[in-house]
């Protein structure tokens, strides 16, 4: 409990505040992700004492989770990978004049998700950490297959199109150095492709640039509602959101405990889950508020929960957390069970700062929502050019490589085409993310078993997950077929 008092010291409060602001900025700027941003700021923290440094860096980390939402909603450009899903409904809401509401519910959902995860961290951290350990490569593979099964819910009207796009995503994910032999695949001798096509430029193109092209190409100028509607959700919207926030928090929290699950996966899962249990699934993709509330809660719950394996076992769940872990180590502290025992004051101070950080983020961001939403009311010529510039700078900032900008532009054109002929983009993104995870975990599992496939059905958790993924696929096939049959018989 001394830790809680320590976190309330003026200095640490300031560090948390600076961290939240910096994090939000990093999240807003497309391209520069929390991992790179945090790493760049590590030397700054050398001057600070370890507690202060860690508080600031943690604040940057989950600040970035929120910042990415702003651009997703306003201009359909995901500020960073985890914000992609928010584009689906968030930007639609913005086009309908409810951008402020979208940002508002995102802030609230993020707050709830973050606080709930932190409370859980405090109350049940060590036993939960065991969950992290029980997910080995075979379980991970099975979990990713479950994720792939979700694609059927993102397919929209045509299941075949959705599946085709998912496979296309998987194919694109194969570009690069193969994880088994180290041989380049589909790289055409271009060194920039050795590490794959680059997820962020692709999504910035498919969503952001495509949106610009569509709007330019629209025959009539779309007028965004001139009246700034209330920034808070209506009673009806609140009602729908609470459930979504709760479920998103649960999903994000659970997935945050599993090392190796990237930030974007909980957002997809939460979104699809919400869509499946909704009575009005056709609203999703057209501006359903649950479609914003669920992923946003999920990703902040994930961000806070992902600290649990780090603090209790010393296992980083994602590259960004690995950077945070590097920061711990550089400051002379090794995260793990022994850190809890040796320096409980420090660990509690960091945990207390999570609470503080989440509150700060809410306070910082809610009032600003009105300001951000006004951007939508600028003449579209300016928003359009500004967004394009923003995207180009963002794509370039990733690796100082013009190739990424090229990828983004090409994907922008592809995304435009896809929207024109009504091919769903979300399954492609899902395939693109899950592809490498599936391949690597399959390969590592087989290395562990010496080539024996029985490893997948002799491990109970893995077998269970495989059964779940099979059930999801079967259920989707059954669910969708009747609707398509009905449509066909109407014509």
């Amino acid at each position: 409990m001394n830790g809680l008092a320590a976190a309330m010291s003026w200095q640490n409060f300031i560090f948390a505040l600076i961290g939240c602001v910096l994090g939000t900025l990093i999240g807003v700027l497309p391209g520069l992700g929390p991992a790179a941003g945090t790493a760049i700021l590590i030397p700054l923290t050398f001057r600070l004492d370890p507690t202060g440094a860690l508080i600031m860096l943690s604040a940057i980390y989950y600040g970035a989770m929120y910042g990415g939402t702003i651009t997703s909603v306003l201009i359909n450009v995901p500020g960073e990978a985890a914000s992609v899903v928010t584009c689906f409904d968030g930007h639609q809401m913005a086009k309908q004049g409810r951008g402020g509401t979208a940002l508002g519910i995102a802030a609230i959902g993020s707050f709830v998700g973050g606080i709930a995860a932190t409370i859980a961290l405090v109350v049940v951290a060590p036993p939960l950490a065991r969950v992290a350990l029980s997910f080995g490569p075979p379980e991970f593979f099975a979990l990713m297959l479950v994720g792939l099964g979700l694609v059927t819910s993102l397919a929209g009207r045509s299941l075949a199109a959705g599946l085709a796009m998912a496979v296309l995503g998987l194919l694109i994910a194969m570009v690069g150095i193969d994880p088994v032999r180290g041989a380049p695949r589909f790289t055409f001798g271009i060194p920039s492709l050795y590490d794959g096509v680059g997820f962020i430029p692709v999504v910035m193109g498919l969503f952001g640039v495509a949106e610009i092209l569509l709007t330019i190409g629209a025959p009539t100028r779309q007028v965004i509602a001139t009246k700034l509607t209330s920034l808070l959700p209506s009673r009806e919207e609140w009602r729908r959101s609470w459930g979504a926030i709760g479920r998103g928090t649960g999903i994000g929290f659970f997935l945050g405990l599993i090392p190796g699950v990237g930030a974007i996966i909980p957002t997809f899962v939460a979104y699809v889950f919400e869509k499946r249990i909704s009575k009005t699934p056709e609203h999703f993709g057209q501006g359903a508020i649950e479609g914003v509330a669920a992923p946003e809660s999920a990703n902040n719950a994930y961000a806070n929960a992902a600290m649990i394996p780090l603090l209790t076992l010393g296992i980083p769940s994602s590259p960004t957390i690995a950077v945070l872990m590097g920061a711990f180590i550089v400051n002379g502290l090794t995260p793990g069970p022994f850190l809890f025992q040796e320096r409980p004051d420090l660990v509690w101070a960091v945990i207390a700062s999570f609470f503080l950080g989440n509150v700060l983020l809410l306070i910082l961001n809610l009032p600003l929502v009105g300001l951000w939403a006004r951007i939508l009311h600028l003449p579209y010529q300016y928003v359009c050019v500004g967004t394009l510039l923003f995207c180009i700078l963002g794509a370039y900032s990733l690796q100082q490589n013009v190739f990424d900008v090229g990828v983004m532009i090409v994907c922008g054109i592809i995304g435009y085409g896809m929207r024109k002929i009504d091919l769903p983009i979300a399954p492609l993104v899902l395939g693109l993310i899950l592809g490498p995870f599936i391949e690597k975990s399959l390969r590592t599992s087989l290395e562990m078993s010496g080539g024996d496939f029985s490893i997948f059905y002799t491990r109970p958790l893995c077998l269970g997950l495989l059964v779940v993924s099979a059930l999801i696929l079967v259920a989707s096939a059954l669910r969708l077929a009747p609707a398509e049959v009905r449509e066909a018989s109407k014509n």
Partner: protein
């Protein structure tokens, strides 16, 4: 008349600047990029940022650390060899990782060992074999006996394909004929730690710098350091040489190099500045806190080390590519 004078003055200035540039006397006159071929946050990256923040004060120009991760470093090194050798773009090379990328025919690397100008080495991190603290293997001998009794069953984790850890496992199999491990290639030390703790792999081959704090805390047991002298960070851990396996010597070094054909005065200047930074107490302290051993090598010594490592890596890379189970 005044036009002629202006012309003469501008020509003279241009000439003077060019000469100065050619001699490198006003090098550097703008920021320098220091490339790290791995994503941010790894140990190469952290050590790079530390040395950059100290060296730039001496250099008088900012040294910007740029991450170009991917393909085990191949993306970054490919980028570096195509830059102008004017001293404004230098980067970290990691031996033997750089060597194995060159030597593996499937990687189709566009560079060879001749495409680099080695400047100065920073770190030499010896290899280490470690297990969970409650593992049945208490010594390297236990491990080798088990590997001989049940070949291809003991799961040995590396931090990457054709990493120094991978080669070290092959060296171990060579030194103990009949011993065979089942190789599991993970990505990075964090993944190794997790899989060992979860019991999904039995033994890990990694480097001292990655696990010193965990050995100290008792979470893991280090069986041997793959060097000919004991590590000052793990003084109680025997070396493979002491244990009767003097051929199992493996380490990972990180040093700074530039594209080939860098002018000698520029190399000398960079070397001098970087050496001073690496010897600074702040640098030494920060690296030692993490258990990373500094080993400064310059000039001939570094070039020779590069060549030696290359020759050694060649042998094991060929073996690795031809081995039935990689």
């Amino acid at each position: 008349m005044s036009r002629v004078i202006t012309a003469i003055i501008s020509a003279a200035t241009a000439l003077a600047l060019n000469i100065a540039g050619a001699i490198g006397q006003d090098f550097p006159n703008r920021p320098i990029q220091l490339m790290v071929a791995y994503p941010a946050g790894g140990s190469t990256d952290i050590a790079a940022r530390i040395v950059a923040s100290i060296a730039e004060k001496e250099l008088g120009q900012p040294i910007v650390v740029v991450n170009k991760g991917g393909a085990g470093g191949q993306v970054g090194w490919t980028d570096m060899v195509r830059q102008k050798p004017d001293g404004y773009y230098i980067g970290f090379i990691n031996l033997p990782a750089t060597n194995t990328v060159i030597l593996d025919p499937e990687r189709k690397a566009i560079f060879s060992e001749k495409d680099f100008t080695p400047i100065i080495n920073q770190v030499l991190d010896p290899g280490v074999i470690w297990v969970k603290s409650d593992s049945p293997y208490k010594t390297v001998q236990d491990l080798i006996v088990a590997a001989k009794n049940s070949p291809n069953t003991i799961r040995a984790a590396t931090t990457g394909i054709l990493s120094d850890d991978h080669l070290a496992i092959l060296m171990t199999e060579e030194a103990a004929p009949g011993a065979a491990f089942r190789l599991v290639h993970l990505e990075g030390g964090a993944a190794q730690f997790k899989e060992i703790m979860a019991g999904n792999v039995d033994v890990a081959f990694d480097n001292v710098g990655s696990i010193v704090p965990r050995v100290r805390s008792g979470e893991v047991r280090a069986l041997a350091v793959l060097d000919d002298v004991r590590s000052k960070f793990l003084p109680e851990v025997p070396t493979t040489k002491e244990l009767g396996y003097p051929t199992i010597i493996s380490n990972s070094t990180r040093g700074i190099a530039g594209p080939k054909d860098m002018p000698a005065p520029i190399v000398a200047k960079l070397r001098e500045v970087l050496k001073k930074a690496m010897e600074a107490p702040e640098h030494v302290k920060k690296l030692e806190e993490q258990g990373i051993a500094i080993r400064i090598m310059v000039g001939e010594e570094y070039a020779k080390y590069f060549a030696d490592t290359h020759a050694k890596a060649k042998k094991y890379t060929e073996w690795a590519k031809n081995r039935p189970q990689k």
